[in-house]
């Protein structure tokens, strides 16, 4: 469960990214975060796994009080959240399979289990044949799928995905969405920032529309809603 109460975020350079956001996302929900470029979607998302800290307000994720969280406990929080980063954040010196395995290594899983799960998730995102390549040797979409695979690997209870289909063709995008649906059906909370109108409008789920750092719309089975 994710809860925010009147959260504000001003970056050190003065940019105001969020202005009084309050929201509650229940366990098992599937939420789209939509909004124009620079609206504050990524900031909203980064607060949940404490990549950024709020300037004001309180945030609870899976019972962790993000503000009060002790340094030492941060990894515990992050292990419960699988994140697909907008800029992928792959480790440049590790191969695809090492990158994906990393999220399991940190919880000291057994090598056998790691190998098995790595193969599983790489299969899921269709990158089995790129397992031994370095991220720099992949196409943009392939890198994005590695980031997705890493987010899934340790079966987190929350998946946070920042435009996970931005570099993917529609077909692959739909494959990924079906994957997310399935995972969501098994009870995983999914929060996904996206610009993909077609997906939002087809797979109707809760939509949080962010604009100028505020949640301007919160719809149960919403639509993308920005007209061109």
């Amino acid at each position: 469960m994710i809860e925010m109460h009147d959260v504000w975020k001003t970056y050190p350079n003065g940019a105001v990214a969020l202005q009084g956001v309050s929201v509650r996302i229940d366990k098992g929900e599937f939420v789209y975060v939509v909004g124009p470029s620079g609206a504050g979607k990524s900031t909203f998302i980064k607060l949940m796994y404490r990549e950024e800290r709020p300037s004001k307000g309180s945030i609870f994720v899976n019972g962790f009080n993000i503000e009060r969280l002790k340094e030492r406990k941060i990894p515990l929080l992050r292990r419960q959240i699988g994140v697909v980063f907008q800029d992928f954040k792959l480790l440049p010196n590790m191969t695809v399979q090492e990158n994906v395995a990393f999220a399991l290594e940190v919880i000291e899983a057994s090598p056998k289990k790691i190998r098995q799960r790595v193969n599983e998730v790489l299969e899921l995102v269709g990158l089995t044949d790129k397992a031994k390549d370095l991220p720099a040797h992949l196409s943009g979409g392939q890198q994005q799928r590695v980031s997705i695979a890493r987010a899934l690997i340790n079966n987190p209870s929350v998946i946070i995905a920042d435009e996970p289909t931005g570099n993917l063709d529609p077909e692959t995008s739909w494959d990924i969405m079906r994957l997310f649906e399935e995972i969501n059906n098994r009870g995983t909370t999914i929060v996904m920032a996206t610009h993909n109108k077609e997906i939002v409008n087809t797979l109707k789920r809760r939509v949080l529309a962010v604009e100028g750092g505020q949640i301007v719309r919160d719809q149960k089975r919403g639509v993308y809603g920005y007209e061109n």
Binding site: Y49, E51, R72, I74, P75, R78, R79, V83, F85, K89, L90, L91, P92, N93, M94, F102, A103, E105, V106, I107, E108, S110, P111, R150
Partner: protein, 293 residues
């Protein structure tokens, strides 16, 4: 931490060496050059200290026996001197050999002393060396009080000058070695810092996907240790070969014998410890600022 995780960190640290190929090479070679420099200086400084000690140990005092002392009394004096715990050596020089030594000293002017053989005016004397040459003054004062001792002479002025000179060389040598150690520490940890700085994004990513600080630190620690240790290999090899070669070419320099090859082993130990320790500590410390995410 599970046992297998230790293994994982070790493998990871090792693998990072080759993954960051170029950076690894740059840092190892910086460590190499720095430790080589340090090693050369340690060897040099040790030999200079030895040299100054040897110079010191050549300081001696002449103890002149009162004229007309009986043979037995002189022997008794010798016994007394030999029983003094402060003395390292006691050498008896009879008036005859005293004259011979003087002749040697005068070289081409030796003829001046020719007539003296028959009626040698020199006193018998003892040449003494103190165990601690720095204390020669107080030892001289003590010896002076013995019966039958006429005069004690140890060239006070010259000796004091010598000691001042030696202590200047010694102290500046020590300052140098300490300074150079710090220089080495600084340069090595600086190199490691820079290479870690270049990888700060990686550290942040690891943190973001749930790694604990120590999970991230360990491989870096091992990597730093290996860089430091590998950086010590070449200096150790060069110093060992170089120093034994030097010893074979110049076993001694003026009156001084170079310290034995064993010295290289001590120096090697110092080098590899400094390399490995600083590599390790440098890594761990430089990482810390990037773990705050």
């Amino acid at each position: 931490m599970k046992i297998r995780t230790i293994g994982r960190h070790g493998r990871e640290g090792l693998r990072n060496l080759s993954r960051n190929g170029w950076m690894t090479f740059a840092s190892i070679s910086a460590v190499t050059v720095t430790l080589l420099l340090l090693g050369v200086f340690l060897l040099l400084a040790y030999n200079v200290q030895q040299f100054s000690k040897q110079l010191e140990s050549q300081v001696e005092m002449n103890v002149y026996v009162k004229e007309g002392a009986a043979r037995a009394d002189v022997l008794e004096l010798e016994r007394q001197l030999k029983s003094l715990p402060e003395l390292a050596s006691v050498t008896y020089v009879s008036k005859e050999s005293g004259l011979d030594q003087l002749k040697d000293k005068l070289q081409e002017n030796a003829s001046l002393l020719e007539g003296l053989d028959k009626e040698n005016p020199l006193p018998d004397k003892f040449i003494l060396k103190a165990k601690d040459p720095q204390l020669i003054g107080s030892v001289a004062a003590k010896v002076q009080t013995l019966p039958l001792v006429d005069k004690v002479n140890y060239g006070k002025d010259t000796v004091e000058k010598l000691f001042k000179g030696i202590s200047l060389v010694r102290n500046s040598g020590a300052v140098f070695v300490v300074g150079l150690c710090f220089t080495a520490l600084f340069l090595i940890s600086n190199t490691i810092k820079v290479t870690i700085f270049a990888r700060r994004k990686e550290i942040e990513i690891m943190k973001l996907v749930g790694a604990t600080n120590w999970f991230i630190r360990w491989p870096f620690l091992i990597e730093g240790l290996l860089i430091g240790a590998l950086g010590a290999v070449l200096p150790i090899a060069l110093l060992s070969f170089g120093y034994s070669y030097l010893l074979s070419v110049y076993p001694s320099f003026m009156y001084f014998n170079f310290a034995a090859v064993d010295l290289v082993y001590s120096v090697s130990t110092i080098l590899i410890s400094i390399g490995a320790l600083i590599g390790m500590i440098g890594s761990v410390m430089s990482i810390s600022r990037f773990l705050r995410i």
